[in-house]
Amino acid sequence: MTDPKRVIVVGGGHNGLVCAAYLARAGRSVLVLEAAAQVGGAAVTREFAPGFRVSAVAHLLHLLDSKVARHLDLARHGLRLAHRDLKTVAMSDAGPAIVLDGPRVIAGDVSDADRRALLEYHRRLAKFSHLLAKQHGRIPARVASGSWREAFAAIKLALDIRRLGRRDMREFLRLATMNIFDVLEDNFESPLLKGALAIDGVLGAQLGPRSGNTVFTSLYRASGHSYCLPQGGMGALTDAMADAARAAGVEIRTSAPVGAITLEGDRIRGVRLASGEEIAADLVVSNADPKTTLLRLLGARHLETEFARRVQNLRGRGNAAKLHLALSALPRFQGVAAEHLGERLLIAPTLDYIEAAFNPAKYREHSTEPALEITIPSVYDRSLAPAGQHVLSAIVQYAPCNLGAGWDKAKHTFQECVLDVLERAAPGLRGLVVGMELLTPLDIERQFRISGGHWHHGELALDQFMMLRPVPGAGQYAMPVNGLYLCGAGCHPGGGVMGTAGRNAATAILRGPRR
């Protein structure tokens, strides 16, 4: 029999496309089923106002797996960068912004002590996050599997930590579970600088700077490369991935939402589309988040009790909203030089500002003065807006998915809060707005079919990482149903536009089931 095993990939997000491409290159017959009219999942470029396009959810590229880019030759398939090495601009009501280029301060009022501290902070961050990045591309070892190979993988991790050297290892173990607030207070003077650095620990998460786990999320964010803007928005990246997948022989069907993953006895039979069409497969690989895949598409009844409960209890309520503005002209942000308007702009002036923005989220309320990560991608990428006009894309924290008051009621109020914050930073901005879109986590959940509207398909935390991701006992991409795999951000190493989960899943699938 030369008939290759038939694989269905549920969902054409970046990880699904990457996984499909790797499987097809290994000779599998692969069909990708995407519910939306275009592939890309949450890494897409959408028109939100006539003539204005924007990266709909993820808006900066900085974690992309370089192996994926190389193996799939994404450049050949059309991926271009509009700009690379974006600087970070920490804006303040009070005075000029601080502009950071990696570890260096290139503008702003920063003491020499802070400048030195920043260099050391970055040195450590780079060293520790490199350790983390090394784990990304590995299939996590199971605990107590009894397998030498997996024990060896765990030993490798221990050795990596030991190789940091005595001082840094101690520091790593001290820092790893700390909160970013304490770390920044220990090391820096400038409130504005501290706010800018803290944002990395809380973006996309149900965490404030004082929450535990925020050093880990900061390290995670630092495990990538510098911030880049794909030419044509994030959709250009996933288009290139789709192109690479097709070139490898993958068949992609869009507007084909999967209604159910079907079983025959204790084995995968295939999928049933929402239209009722049944498609048989030997393997089903789901790019959907773990809850959607296991509880909704498969059904908890086909899972064992403890496993189903773990999936049910997975933490993954989105807390970041996305604001898109169509602007008739380039806005002016106070204290920001015109040459820096295309960079990564932050409204997070102090640690307390971010913490205060987080406080309401604990009680299922949205921030009234949110923290923002803003990009105006049209500065570098003219394809996104009509000539002379611009698009602004902002990640807005905090906006709990399960808002107590309900988003239908509160969305307008929240939108006004965000615009007020923006207007204060860029007086006159409201007058430039010709189109607007606010995506709450609930909108993200509905439009992008992600449980809880969480970018990472589940909170990124030490207790939901590596072999514990998505849940203990399922850290190796194979789910406890024969023939079912996960390949999305809900798996190790998690979210952000990386493609590593898809690549790892393909590796796990190709090496076959393990005892």
Binding site: L263, G265, D266, L295, G299, A300, R301, H302, L303, E304, T305, E306, F307, A308, R309, Q312, G473, P480, R515
Partner: protein, 397 residues
């Protein structure tokens, strides 16, 4: 009987039968079973046991944990919960079952009453509400804790059928083992099942608590000339070991209570392979049990007939080369089998029929401890298994 907000002020409850059991308990022997006080013995444990094996005996079963499971997915739920195929337990039938965690380790055992379509009652030793709710995820079922809402008596022994007939339960002799039937009694529903924990002919009677005393009185009235006696936990325990049945917290540790992973047991390791249907596409523990079947089990539960007359309580079991291969979990001198008998958990591969095994028994006479090593024989099935247990029509002498 709904718990009121002051329920915590009462540490231990009395069962609906307490007004009758209390005066009969001349030994004043009680222990706490769940939230209820329960008689260990009434007048003479040996005589209570004799009543059970030779006439009939009544055991207050009310503290038993009971859950009512209803809904369109009730059968699917039961099948996901337990290791056996519940579709084979038809409406009007009862089945013994065990359930496991994901690791295939036994959480508890109990009986499933298939009352009618989509309605099951699950009786168990341990509280299970949290586990049942967890197991209901994604299924259309309602789970009600009804332990306090149903009063129950175990009525067991060779004259039990005759007494029930005299009580007016017409046709009771035709009720098959593991069958259940609803009778009208004192203007209410009396559920009778031919089940029990004694390995003898016997029944369990289930009724609303408000009618409990009337049931007790009329049962004792009907049994007056049939040797009816109340029976406590100690006599029941004797009959349970003779029947070869296992008990939670005695012969196995409920998996949800275990801290040490090697202390739990799978159904295979409790000699319950017949209760496991791996052809069912999904139930909790299935994947682990398939794996155990492939790799082999760690332990084997055996029934041992031990030479001599010493009770092998807590004895170590040795092989012929004096290696410890296991321990006794339940032991007694069996009046019915006229033998020292025990249940024991042995390391694999020990416990095959014909294996040479020895029990090291410690015993004392007048405070002087002695030790003896006795040869053991692996017995298949119950130690005491009277034919009346299975006969239909049941003997109604």
């Amino acid at each position: 009987m709904k718990l009121d907000r002051q329920h915590f002020r009462t540490a231990v409850y009395q069962t609906p039968f307490h007004p009758r059991t209390a005066p009969l308990n001349v030994l004043n022997l009680w222990h706490r079973w769940r939230d209820y006080t329960t008689a260990d013995g009434y007048f003479d444990v040996g005589m209570e046991y004799n009543a059970l094996r030779n006439a009939c005996a009544v055991f207050d079963l009310s503290p038993m944990t009971k859950h009512l499971i209803t809904g369109a997915d009730a059968l699917a739920f039961m099948n996901r919960l337990v290791t056996r195929d519940v579709a084979k337990i038809k409406p009007g039938r009862v089945g013994y079952a065990v359930w496991c965690n994901d690791a295939g380790q036994v959480i508890d055992d109990g009986t499933i009453f298939h009352l009618r379509d989509n309605v099951f009652r699950l009786c168990s030793q341990e509280r299970q509400l949290d586990w049942l709710h967890a197991s209901a995820l994604g299924l259309d079922v309602a789970i009600a804790e009804e332990s306090d809402d149903v009063a129950a008596l175990a009525f067991q022994g060779p004259t039990s059928c005759a007494v029930l007939k005299k009580l007016g339960l017409a046709g009771i002799e035709m009720l098959k083992p593991f069958g259940l039937r609803v009778f009208t009694f004192a203007g209410t529903e009396l559920l009778v099942s031919r089940t029990g924990f004694t390995g003898d002919l016997g029944y369990e009677l289930w009724i609303a608590p408000g009618h409990a005393l009337e049931l007790w009185d009329r049962l004792f009235e009907a049994g007056r000339n049939y040797g009816i006696r109340p029976m406590g936990t100690l006599a029941l325990e004797m009959s349970r070991i003779e029947a070869g049945f296992i008990a939670a917290l005695v012969d196995f540790l409920p998996a949800d209570r275990a801290v040490r992973t090697d202390r739990t047991r799978s159904p295979f390791e409790l000699d319950l392979a017949r209760m496991v249907d791996l052809d069912k596409p999904n139930f909790t523990g299935r994947r682990a049990l398939l794996e155990e079947q492939r790799r082999g089990s760690r332990y084997r539960l055996v029934r041992l007939d031990i030479e001599g007359n010493k009770v092998a309580k807590d004895a170590f079991i040795y092989d012929a080369r004096r290696n410890v291969v296991g321990t006794v979990t339940s032991a007694m001198w069996s009046p019915a089998a006229k033998a020292s008998i025990a249940l024991a958990s042995l390391e694999m591969p020990w416990g095959r029929p014909g294996d040479e095994l020895f029990a090291e028994i410690y015993y004392q006479k007048e405070l002087k401890w002695s030790r003896i090593t006795e040869r053991c024989r692996v017995v298949e099935g119950a130690f005491y298994d009277p034919p009346r247990r299975r006969q239909t029509p049941a003997p109604d002498l």
